[in-house]
Structures are given as structure tokens and as C-alpha cells.
Amino acid sequence: MIRALYSAASGMTAEQTNVDNIANNLANASTTAFKARRTQFQDLMYQTIMQPGAQAGSQTVVPAGLQIGLGTRPASNEIIFTQGSFTQTDNPLDLAIQGNGFFQVLQPNGVLAYTRAGTFQLDLNGNVVTAAGDPVQPQITIPPQALSVTIALDGTVSYTQQGTSAAQTAGQIELANFQNPAGLNAMGSNLYSPTDASGQPTVAKPGGPEGLGTLLQGYTEQSNVSVVTEFINLIESQRAYEANSKVVTTADQMYQDVNNLKT
């Protein structure tokens, strides 16, 4: 009976979800390698009030039915994996991926996770780890006597030692990619895990024919959130919310009039 009220309420709930999403995007505008999410809406089911071809009276036949929609719902908020811009840091263990790949890191529970945030550090054993302390896979260890660390475009990590002129190779960083990165599960802390929608990772060396991108030493990738776009979305969302709230007040007034029929 009160379809208009619930349709408007569904619109308001959907816009709230949209604003939640925009708020999270804006909050992460300076998070390294953060990828913005985009909310997508869909219309809900339709209620058939009058069947096409029904008898509308002794003289008329309904030529086409009457279908009334029942509002909207947020269908998905997919991750937008466009490249963020780079910031120079000069930190030798800061890496930015120029391309589509992900770094692989080993979580404390022994499960691999994927990230694009290449702000790495050394732990007390000389292993290359993320800010959370998860080691990069394949594991790369740099001895304490190393003087300088160089990471090539193809991920080869080398260092020089006192007294030797030749550089020692410590290992090669590998990248992973997914058939549908938008289907990855975001776990927070810049980490992603694969799902059935994303597919299983394909692992390859950077700069190879697989097109996983190359590494850039001394740079970090910025968030790809466009503050201007987010503000435009915020304005649109607020106005849509207002329009739906007007439907609620109008419906309320009309139902009040109905109640006043019986004086």
C-alpha cells in the first residue's frame, strides 16, 4: 500500500551508502596506493498493478499493463584500479608499480595477501617487510653490512658491500595480477585477497611480457581518489537524498489527507 514511502526510503538508504563510500574515499585521499571505490545503483523489482489485456470496464480493455517500480538499491561498489600518481621519497625501499601488478606479502597467518603500497622497510633480520611487518614474497634479505640497495625496473634487488666493487644480488621481487582486479576483497591495511570473482593470481617478474608493470625505486604511489570528483558525487548524492525525503513528506501529507476523509 505505502509503496511511495518505501521507494523513497530505499532511495535514501542507497544515497546513505553512497555518502559512506564517498567519505571513505575522501578519508583515504592521502593513503599510499589507495584505490577509490564507486557505488553502482540498480532499480528494484516492479509490481504489476494491472495486467496487459485485462478488462478495464464494459467498454475498455487495458492495452498495456501498469507496472510500478519499488525503488533502488546499491548493487556494488567496485574498486577502481586506475594508476595513482607518484611521489618521490628517495627512500631506497619505497617502490611504486608502473602498471597493473600487486606485491605479494605473507601475512602472520601464513596466507598470501596482495598490495600496491610499496612502502617497505627492513626488519631486524634484514628481511624486506611492509609497514605492518609482513615479509615480501619471494623473501628478500639484505645483510646489515650492505652499503646501498638498488632495485631495478625488473625487480632485481642488489646491494654493494664495503671493499667489493661488484654488486651482490639479493633476489628478485615478483608481481601478481588478477583477471578481474575489481573483484578483489579489500582486507584493510592496503591489503587485498583473491576471490572467485577476481580469479587466481598470475605471478611474473616485473617488466616481462605478461604486462604486470615495472618497479620504480624511491617513489610511492599516491591514492587515485580525485577529490573534485568525490565532491561532485557528494553534492549529487545529497540532492538525490533531499529529493527522496521530499517524496516522504509528500506521501505523508497525502496519507494524512486520506485519514482526514473520516471526520
Binding site: 509503496r3 511511495a4 521507494s7 523513497a8 532511495g11 542507497a14 553512497n18 564507486r38 553502482q40 545503483f41 540498480q42 532499480d43 528494484l44 516492479y46 498493478i49 494491472m50 496487459p52 478495464a56 470496464g57 467498454q59 475498455t60 487495458v62 492495452p63 498495456a64 499493463g65 501498469l66 507496472q67 510500478i68 517500480g69 525503488g71 533502488t72 548493487a75 567496485e78 577502481i80 586506475t82 583477471q179 578481474n180 575489481a182 572467485d196 570473482a197 577476481s198 580469479g199 587466481q200 598470475t202 604486462g211 549529487e236 548524492s237 538525490a240 529529493a243 527522496n244 521530499k246 517524496v247 509528500t250 506521501a251 497525502m254 489527507d257 486520506v258 482526514n260 476523509l261 471526520t263
Partner: protein
């Protein structure tokens, strides 16, 4: 019921249905590819609405059907290669669970198997009637004619269609439409496919707000006329009863 009250009651009911349609339009103001629904009023002539003497049947307003405004929505740039929009007439064809469905919502995604699917997972169909099959690892280019290119080679063509009679389309929800007409009424679309863009909903918020005010005021007027009808009936019953006594 007397003719005045029954006419006004029919109008009240129609106005409630009008508001339902407006509510659904405004709820979908941010739904990609959504098309505005409008009501189509007509007059309902029936014996129960006959005027005094049974000669001149009164006519009651009813919402007979709704029609969908398939005009173009604004196209906005997203820069995502799997976002597609149609500029001009036409619909994308997707393979639904029970037959073909059509949509203007071009937010597609790759599956791990290399298909392009809607956000509900229904695969997008090619012009050969089979689902589009691509290599998700390689860059995708879509030409305005709907051809899909990877590494410069044509790997498929989208099936974009148009219909002889748009009123044979019915909304299924989740941005999908079903065509209820004959198969020969489906033809190739003339619209251009644009990559990296999405079509906004074509709901006119300002126009809908004005219509909503209109519906509300008309509703109040009809409510008043019912109250007047009640007053007249009350007066008639009481006065006639008095004079008869």
C-alpha cells in the same frame, strides 16, 4: 456511492499511483541507464459510475498504463575501459537466466574466464549470439560501431539492438529489460557505443518535484470534494427526513 464521491475516490487512487511512480523515479536518480516512468491517464466509463437517470455515464480518471521515456541520459566520463554507454538509440544484449535481456547500464566487468558480465553476472552477448569472450590480461578498445579490439585485432562485436515498438519492453528490475514482442521486431541499433563513459539516469529531478506538488494539490482538492459530497449527503438525509416528518 454517489457519482461525485466515486469519481473523486478514483482520482485519489490514481494520484497515489502517480506518487508511487514519481517516488520510484526519484529513488533511481543515480541509477546508471535508468529511464523515467510516467503514468498515462485515461477515463474509465462504467455502469457503477453512471450519472442520474442512467443516461450519461460519468467518467472516472484512472491510470491505465505507464510509459517509459527512453530518451538519452547524460553521458559522463569514467575512464574505465569496461564502462560502456550508448549514444543514441539501442540496448546492450545480455544472456539472462531465462532468455535474452536488454540494458542501457554499461557497467560491465571481466570474469576470470574472460567474459564481460553485468554487475549481476549475466554475460554480455556478441553479434553472433554467443557471450563475448576476451583475454582480460590485454587492453580492450571498443569502437563506436561496437567492435571489440585487443592488440589491434577485432576479437568480437557487441550486439546492440533496437525495437520497433518500445512499449513491448518491460522493466525487470536490476537495470534489465525484457522484450515481449515478436523476434522480427528486434533490429540492429543505430546508436554509437562509447567506451569509458556511462549513461546517467534520465530522471528530471526538478520536473518530478513539480509533478509531485501537482499530485499533492490535486489530491487535496479531491479529498475536499469528497468531504463536500459527504456534507451534501448528510444534509440531504437530514433535511429530507425532516421535511418528510
Amino acid at each position: 456511492m454517489d457519482p461525485l464521491t466515486s469519481m473523486a475516490a478514483s482520482g485519489l487512487r490514481s494520484n497515489l499511483e502517480s506518487l508511487d511512480l514519481i517516488a520510484n523515479n526519484l529513488a533511481n536518480v543515480q541509477t546508471t541507464g535508468f529511464k523515467n516512468d510516467s503514468e498515462f491517464y485515461s477515463l474509465y466509463a462504467a455502469s457503477e459510475a453512471e450519472g442520474p437517470g442512467g443516461s450519461d455515464p460519468a467518467q472516472m480518471p484512472v491510470i491505465e498504463t505507464n510509459w517509459t521515456d527512453y530518451s538519452q541520459g547524460d553521458l559522463h566520463q569514467t575512464g574505465i575501459p569496461t564502462d560502456l554507454a550508448i549514444s543514441g538509440a539501442g540496448f546492450f544484449t545480455v544472456a539472462g537466466p531465462s532468455g535474452r535481456l536488454y540494458t542501457r547500464n554499461g557497467t560491465f566487468q571481466f570474469t576470470p574466464a574472460g567474459r564481460l558480465v553485468t554487475s549481476d553476472g549475466y554475460p554480455l552477448q556478441g553479434s553472433d549470439g554467443k557471450p563475448i569472450q576476451l583475454d582480460p590480461a590485454r587492453a580492450l578498445t571498443v569502437t563506436p560501431e561496437g567492435e571489440l579490439l585487443q592488440d589491434g585485432a577485432v576479437v568480437g562485436k557487441l550486439q546492440t539492438v533496437t525495437f520497433k515498438k518500445m512499449s513491448d519492453l518491460s522493466k525487470q528490475g536490476t537495470s534489465l529489460l525484457r522484450f515481449n514482442g515478436p523476434d522480427d521486431a528486434v533490429g540492429p541499433a543505430a546508436g554509437l557505443v562509447l567506451q569509458g563513459r556511462l549513461e546517467s539516469s534520465n530522471v528530471d529531478v526538478a520536473g518530478s518535484s513539480v509533478r509531485m506538488i501537482n499530485v499533492l494539490r490535486q489530491f487535496e482538492m479531491l479529498q475536499k470534494s469528497i468531504l463536500i459530497g459527504v456534507d451534501m449527503n448528510t444534509a440531504a438525509i437530514q433535511q429530507v427526513a425532516k421535511s418528510g416528518a
